[in-house]
Structure formats: structure tokens, C-alpha cells
């Protein structure tokens, strides 16, 4: 196994691309909240990047990618990046082991950022830091191990090209659990909470789309035909999701820019697990269905009065679920050797469904328990007075 400089060049670039996604989640979310919580919302994402970066090199990478312990978790062989070096490693035949590690790092950070949707505009910053550290360790790291690190889901044959299950289902359902524990924002459903800065949200979406090329095409772990194919499927699924949500929501009102960018993210989420297994034409279908489906889920959430404030659950959680199933349906051997339902491989569909639903349950239940524990001890939520004043001033002493 020798280093391929082209593959290394692309994964270096991909890692940078995925890195920008974490602050981009902050801009996306920040534009959607009220002005008094804008800095807070961006900061939650950006702090996730720093915190998880440290956790990952110290222990997270080892828990996720260390040698398998009972199908559930990795061992501590890579503690403190022990045994992770400049040469190719177990997971990276063409690129340095350290590069594979840091490419995985940026996935862990963005997952944490997505979760903040469920606690928007009401979380106590100190409690968030503790929560984030624990969540990434006991929810994300095991899930990454199951699917990518040689855990039970991998052994069972579940396909997840770039993290539909590990990143999106986990963060989406974690956001759902969190919002149930922390409760609704004061005034939710009673008066209008208008987004404060739609152009900022669009900027976030543009950077997400941009970074997602690293996310999905980088997951080929090489600069080759598969990377190109994943690049193309990613782009058309996003485009199809964006247009589909736009058109679907037009039936109910006007074609809003927020509908467009939400659909783009839904399309990107849906294609994530499938990016390296399906054809571009299938990707258009997966993206378009993702856009309409997530839009419907969001409408349902609002009707139910659920304050999962920025729709991580509707878009990432449910979109990720759709993507996992779609991968089991539309995978074709010509792309990457794996066949799905349409090529008659029922087994693949079952494996993917099993992996996805296991992740749904694990992420939801463990997050719920963790959130309750933190709420009972440190307290997850700011006081009502602080919520009125806004988290920017109350928690960060800043305003914009």
C-alpha cells in the first residue's frame, strides 16, 4: 500500500471542503432564528467544530475505528492518535492514515452541529458543552463504528456511502429527542418567529452544497471514476431536491428561497448514503422524492406543534432514513459492485433498513436519556428571562 499523491490531494481538499460545512450549518441555522439569538446559533456550530476536533483525536477516532469490540465499539489502540501515522493505515490504502483520520473528524464535527437545531434559542451554553462532549462520544462514535469501523452493521452488509445513517439519521433523531426534553420556545405557536437573515441562510446553504462535494465525492477515498460519479449524483440530487421542494411548496403559496435551499439540503441528505452506488438518473429521483418527502414531514411536525426548531429531524433524520432505504433500492452493480432491490437483491434492502432503524432507535433513546440526565443535573435550558432577552446577550455578552 503506497500513497497515491492524486488521491491524497483530493482527500486533503475534501477535508477542507467538509470543514467549512460546520460553520455553514451555523450560518444556515443562524439566519433562521430571531436576531437576538443569531450569534448564539452560529457559535453552537462553530464550537462543536473545536470541541469535537479535540475529542476525536484524543479518543473518538479510536472508539470509532479501533479494532472491533463485540460489534459495538472500537478499542483504544488509536488513543491520542497512537499508531496513526503518515503511512497508509487499515482504512486507507492510498492515503496517509492521519489524513483518513482527519477526513473522518470533519464528519463527526458537522454531525454535532446539525443536532443544535433541537435546542435553538433556549439552550444553556455550559450545558451544551457537556452535552456535546458526551453525545459525540456515546452516540456518534459507536454509530460510526457500526457502519464504517467494522461493527455489526458493516458485517451485516448495510451500505452507507458517505454517512446517511451515521451523520444524518443520528443527528436528526438526536435533535428530535432533545427538543422533547428541553421543551418548546416561549411563544412558539403563539406568535410569529420570523427568520432574521434569509441571505445568511442562503449563504450557509451555498457553502453546504459546496462542501458536500468533499463529503460525498471524498468518500470514494480516491481521485477516480467513483469519486466523479459520486460528485455527479450529489449535484443532481441536490438540484432535484431543491426544485421539488420549491414546486411542492408553490402549490401552497409562493416559491420561497427558504423552500429552495431546504430542498437542496434534503436532496443532499437523501443522496449521501447512495452517492457511490447509484446512477445519476436514479439520483435525480432520490433527490426529488427527498425534497417532497421532507417537506411533507416538516408540515406534519408543524401541525403537531413540535418545536424541533430548525428541522434537523425532518430534513436530516427523515431524509437520511429515506436515503438509506433508497440506497437499498437503487444500488446497481455497474456503479460500485453492489445491487439493490431493483436488481432483485432483497437482502441489501433488508440490511440497509435494519441498519437505519437500529440507528434511529439508538440515537433517539440514548440522546433522550443523556438530555434528561443533563437537564436534571446541570439544567439544559436558560431561564425564561434570559430567553426573552436572547442568548446572544444572556449567554455570550454580545449582540449584533
Amino acid at each position: 500500500m503506497a500513497i497515491d499523491s492524486g488521491a491524497t490531494a483530493w482527500i486533503l481538499a475534501s477535508t477542507a471542503l467538509v470543514m467549512i460545512m460546520t460553520p455553514a450549518v451555523g450560518f444556515f441555522y443562524g439566519g433562521l432564528v430571531r436576531r437576538k439569538n443569531l450569534i448564539s446559533m452560529i457559535t453552537l456550530s462553530f464550537v462543536a467544530f473545536a470541541l469535537v476536533s479535540i475529542q476525536w483525536v484524543v479518543i473518538g477516532y479510536s472508539l470509532a475505528f479501533g479494532s472491533d469490540v463485540g460489534g459495538f465499539i472500537g478499542n483504544l489502540e488509536y488513543l491520542g492518535l497512537n499508531n496513526v501515522g503518515m503511512e497508509p493505515g487499515a482504512f486507507s490504502s492510498e492515503i496517509p492514515g492521519l489524513l483518513f483520520m482527519v477526513f473522518q473528524l470533519v464528519f463527526a464535527t458537522v454531525t454535532m452541529a446539525i443536532v443544535t437545531s433541537g435546542i435553538a434559542e433556549r439552550v444553556k451554553f455550559s450545558a451544551y458543552l457537556v452535552f456535546a462532549l458526551l453525545w459525540t462520544t456515546i452516540v456518534y462514535d459507536p454509530l460510526a463504528h457500526w457502519v464504517w469501523g467494522g461493527g455489526w452493521a458493516a458485517q451485516f452488509g448495510a451500505l452507507d456511502f458517505a454517512g446517511g445513517t451515521v451523520v444524518h439519521i443520528s443527528s436528526g433523531f438526536a435533535a428530535l429527542a432533545l427538543c422533547l426534553v428541553i421543551g418548546k420556545r416561549v411563544g412558539f405557536g403563539k406568535y410569529v418567529m420570523e427568520p432574521n437573515n434569509i441571505p445568511l441562510t442562503i449563504l450557509g446553504a451555498a457553502l453546504l452544497w459546496f462542501g458536500w462535494f468533499g463529503f460525498n465525492a471524498g468518500s470514494a477515498l480516491g481521485a477516480n471514476g467513483l469519486a466523479a460519479s459520486a460528485f455527479v449524483t450529489t449535484n443532481v440530487a441536490a438540484a432535484a431536491g431543491a426544485m421539488a421542494w420549491l414546486l411542492a411548496s408553490w402549490l401552497n403559496g409562493k416559491p420561497s428561497s427558504l423552500g429552495f435551499v431546504s430542498g437542496a439540503v434534503a436532496g443532499l441528505v437523501a443522496i449521501t448514503p447512495a452517492a457511490g452506488f447509484v446512477t445519476p438518473m436514479a439520483a435525480i429521483l432520490i433527490g426529488a422524492v427527498g425534497g417532497v418527502f421532507c417537506y411533507g414531514i416538516m408540515l406534519w411536525r408543524i401541525r403537531k406543534g413540535l418545536d424541533e426548531s430548525l428541522d434537523a429531524w425532518a430534513i436530516h433524520g427523515m431524509g437520511g432514513l429515506w436515503g438509506a432505504l433508497a440506497t437499498g433500492i437503487f444500488a446497481v452493480a455497474a456503479v460500485n459492485g453492489a445491487s439493490g432491490l431493483i436488481e432483485g437483491n432483497v437482502q441489501q434492502f433488508v440490511a440497509n433498513a435494519a441498519g437505519a432503524f437500529a440507528a434511529v432507535i439508538y440515537a433517539f433513546v440514548v440522546t433522550y436519556i443523556l438530555a434528561v440526565v443533563i437537564d436534571k443535573t446541570i439544567g439544559l435550558r436558560v431561564t425564561e428571562e434570559e430567553e426573552y432577552v436572547g442568548l446572544d446577550i444572556a449567554q455570550h455578552g454580545e449582540r449584533c
Binding site: V192, E194, S249, N252, L258
Partner: protein, 109 residues
């Protein structure tokens, strides 16, 4: 002297300004406000469908004039601001006891 406070539609502002200039009303102070009256709010989208916003953006013009010019000023604003549709706005007239130009100390307008 009187303070005339006119709250008008933003899209009429350029017309009102022009009309005032033509009539020789130079001084004015404007601010961006939001208002509600008879006019129903507008429907906005926010991912999950419609929401109605009832405080709409308006431009507030404040002009201090001599009492003798008041009627002229009011009719100028009314003509130029009017669209005939709901939400055209209001004019309020209030007494001013004194006006001073900071630069010179003059108390004429």
C-alpha cells in the same frame, strides 16, 4: 408651528419627496417604522407554509412648518401618498412650541 407626522407606504416615498420638493418644503426627518391599522397583514412564507405578519414597514415623515403652511403641506402629502388602497397611512398634526436651528440659534423654520 406644527409638527406634521405622516406615516406612508414605502413605495410611495419617492413620490412624496418629489412633491414636497416641488412645493418648496425642504426640511424633513424620516424614519423607518412598522405599523398596523385597518390594513390586514401580509402573508409570508417560512418553510412551513404561510404566516401572517401584521406590522408592515412604513415610512414616517416628520416636518415642522409654520401654521400658515400647514394646509398646503397636508394636501401635498395626501395627493402624492394616496393610492386609494387600504394601508395608505395617516397624518397627525401636533403643536410645536419652539424650533431652534443648532448652528445659528435662529428660531425661525
Amino acid at each position: 408651528m406644527k409638527l406634521v407626522k405622516a406615516i406612508i407606504k414605502p413605495e410611495r416615498f419617492e413620490f412624496v419627496k418629489k412633491a414636497l420638493e416641488d412645493k418648496g418644503f425642504k426640511g424633513m426627518t424620516i424614519s423607518e417604522v412598522r405599523g398596523r391599522g385597518e390594513q390586514k397583514g401580509i402573508a409570508l412564507e417560512y418553510r412551513g407554509g404561510l404566516m401572517t405578519v401584521d406590522l408592515l414597514p412604513k415610512i414616517q415623515i416628520e416636518i415642522v412648518v409654520k401654521a400658515t403652511e400647514l394646509d398646503d403641506l397636508i394636501s401635498t402629502i395626501m395627493e402624492s401618498a394616496k393610492t386609494g388602497k387600504i394601508g395608505d397611512g395617516k397624518i397627525f398634526v401636533m403643536p410645536v412650541e419652539k424650533a431652534i436651528r443648532i448652528r445659528t440659534g435662529e428660531t425661525e423654520i
